[in-house]
């Protein structure tokens, strides 16, 4: 109890300094939580596009970005004809722009695609999709920012398109995207006869391994991955996740340096007190325990405050219409645990030098300055 009070007492002596350290850790934690959650949400959304009513995705082997993948129509047909496949939907991804929006995701899909068939059609009729080459279906948010509705003409890239429907999806990319008939998209993006990916639904999920083997044998230029496998291994996702953790880690590093600065000052200002504790039987371990306890307290308080700030910030982001569907406020327990652990590690690392300094304080040297 007194040990604990010694820790609290010292934090209370320099309240402003302690609060600044706590704030440093808190903002670092909040930044890390926000960045990681937003990016993981985005990754989840993108994975969601691919896993819509499918279990496996087939794309060109060794491409770093699906936008550069080419799966020939012959391969799509060959895969669709495999007895274990229930359906195979080719999807062509493209990026287009409009006057005020430099990036709009465009999906070239077939009429039977789940993205069209299972979406909630706010305007228009799914049966009209792909009847004419210049037709497009807009996600609800895309319709909103393009100020278009059923029957409108919209300028997308260098083309003028006729809106035949507006659909609502829970996926941010789809909701802010444009759906074109596959053939129109192939012509528009000059990729005749090919698609970016093929999403596969098997008759029996247990055939996944056999299917992948079959694809590997028949189409050496293609690769087939189950959805979870893809999310884990897709290099763009890996880069995004690594970037998120790196940026967050830099934040925590700064927070840790703040703790180090506070703890160094804390030790310097109570050299005499540490000497007295030593004279009264405190071991080096106990002295180090005080320093680490203090920094641990700062870290934990910072982590708690940071999590609250981060969660609040994510909630506010979710309320911004432009980010609908992109920001997922559900924080993964794993992310929560890692962020808390990293905050604690930052705090402890920040206390390493101060603790080493504190245990080296010579009681007799400190007392000589009575």
């Amino acid at each position: 109890m007194i040990f604990f009070k010694l820790i609290l007492t010292n934090l209370g002596r320099h309240r402003i300094r302690s609060l600044i350290s706590i704030a440093g850790i808190a903002f670092s934690v909040a930044a890390m939580l926000t960045i990681v959650t937003v990016l993981q949400g985005a990754v989840g959304m993108f994975s969601g596009i691919l896993s819509n009513d499918s279990e496996i995705i087939v794309f060109e082997r060794n491409v770093s970005d699906l936008f550069f993948s080419n799966v020939p129509a012959s391969a799509v047909q060959g895969i669709a004809d495999l007895p274990m496949v229930l359906h195979a939907n080719p999807v062509l991804f493209g990026i287009v722009s409009s006057e005020d929006h430099p990036i709009i995701t465009c999906f070239g899909v077939t009429p039977t695609d789940a993205r069209i068939q299972k979406a909630t059609w706010l305007q228009g009729d799914p049966l009209t999709f792909a009847k004419h080459s210049g037709d497009v279906v807009l996600g609800e948010r895309a319709a909103d920012f393009l100020k278009a509705r059923l029957g409108s003409q919209v300028q997308i890239g260098h083309g003028l398109f006729h809106v035949i429907g507006v659909v609502n999806t829970t996926n941010g990319f789809e909701d802010g995207g444009v759906f074109m008939p596959l053939k129109s998209a192939q012509a528009f993006f000059h990729k005749e006869g090919s698609s970016s990916v093929v999403t596969i639904k098997l008759r029996n999920k247990d055939d996944a391994a056999a299917f992948k083997q079959q694809v590997k044998a028949s189409y050496p230029n293609l690769t087939a991955l189950e959805n979870e496998e893809f999310t884990r291994s897709y290099s763009q996702f890996k880069i995004l996740k690594a970037t998120a953790w790196a940026v967050g880690g830099c934040g925590l590093l700064l927070g840790g340096l703040g703790v180090a600065n506070t703890m160094i000052m804390s030790v310097f200002t109570r050299i005499r007190e540490i000497a007295i504790l030593r004279v009264n039987g405190f071991s080096k371990t106990q002295i180090a325990g005080l320093i680490f306890g203090e920094s641990g307290m700062v870290s934990m308080l910072g982590a708690v405050v940071g999590l609250m700030i981060g969660a609040g910030f994510l909630f506010v982001l979710k309320l911004i219409p432009a980010l609908h569907g992109y920001v997922d406020v559900s924080i993964e327990p794993q992310v929560l645990l890692i962020v808390i652990l990293l905050a604690l590690v930052a705090g402890i690392a920040g206390a390493l030098y101060p603790a080493a300094y504190a245990v080296r304080i010579s009681a007799v040297e400190a007392l000589r300055f009575e």
């Binding site: 007194i2 007295i276 009264n280 007392l367």
Partner: protein, 235 residues
């Protein structure tokens, strides 16, 4: 010879001994102790007298294991202090220190300050509490237990430091000018408390002091000059 000697008959009762102890600082530039020999026996009260800078405090620090001599031997309870011997055990259970300044932690209460050595030693809480009650009763501080140090007078603070030094029942108390910062009246009260405690606890007390009157009330008075025990005075 600059030595306080012991006879063969009381040799077994020696609890503190310094043999030809040398100590200097700043790589030998400041020589503080120049071959000191010193002994203190069980239950004895010894006053170390001498001018400022003669080495009294340094000798106390060496006897208490807070510092190491350049040369010579220090023995506590017949065991030589060396880098391999746990000084923690010494500081926790065998020796208590009182300094000229009380060196209490101002943000803690009297009670919490006194309990610090028991926290360090991991003493049972109930036993620590009983010990605290006994010592504060003996020093007249029972009514001040929950008070912060800032609220205490100089004499009360020094008596608190005394209680703290004795919490783990050490048998040796080293006091470095314990009344040096107090006025005459308070100083006399604290010194009397010190002697009373030494008697009731059976302590060996070694006290550095400038106050000749106080020194003369101890069992022995030892004069130090220029880093040497200059003249033993038996009372």
């Amino acid at each position: 010879m600059n030595v306080t000697t012991s006879t063969a008959s009381n040799y077994a009762r020696v609890v503190l001994r310094a043999e030809n102890v040398w100590k200097s600082y700043d790589d030998g530039a400041i020589r503080v102790l120049n071959g000191v020999d010193f002994e203190a026996q069980t239950g004895q009260t010894v006053a170390l007298c001498g001018p400022s800078g003669c080495g009294k405090s340094t000798l106390l620090h060496l006897l208490g294991g807070l510092d190491e001599p350049d040369r010579g031997r220090i023995c506590v309870n017949a065991v030589e202090l060396n880098p391999h011997r746990s000084r923690l055990k010494l500081l926790r259970y065998e020796i208590g220190f009182v300094f000229q300044l009380h060196n209490l932690i101002p943000d803690l209460t009297l009670e919490e300050n006194c309990l610090i050595p028991t926290v360090a030693a991991g003493t049972d809480r109930k036993a620590a509490r009983e010990r605290l009650e006994r010592l504060t009763a003996m020093t007249g501080l029972s009514h001040r237990l929950g008070h912060r140090i800032q609220k205490l007078s100089g004499g009360e603070r020094q008596r608190t430091a005394l209680c703290r030094a004795l919490m783990n029942k050490p048998k040796i108390l080293l006091a470095d000018e314990p009344t040096g910062s107090l006025d005459e009246v308070t100083s006399a009260t604290v010194f009397q408390t010190l002697l009373d405690l030494a008697a009731s606890e059976g302590l060996t007390l070694v006290m550095a002091t400038h106050d000749r009157a106080m020194a003369m009330r101890c069992d022995r008075m030892v004069e130090m000059r220029q880093g040497r025990i200059h003249e033993p005075v038996s009372l």
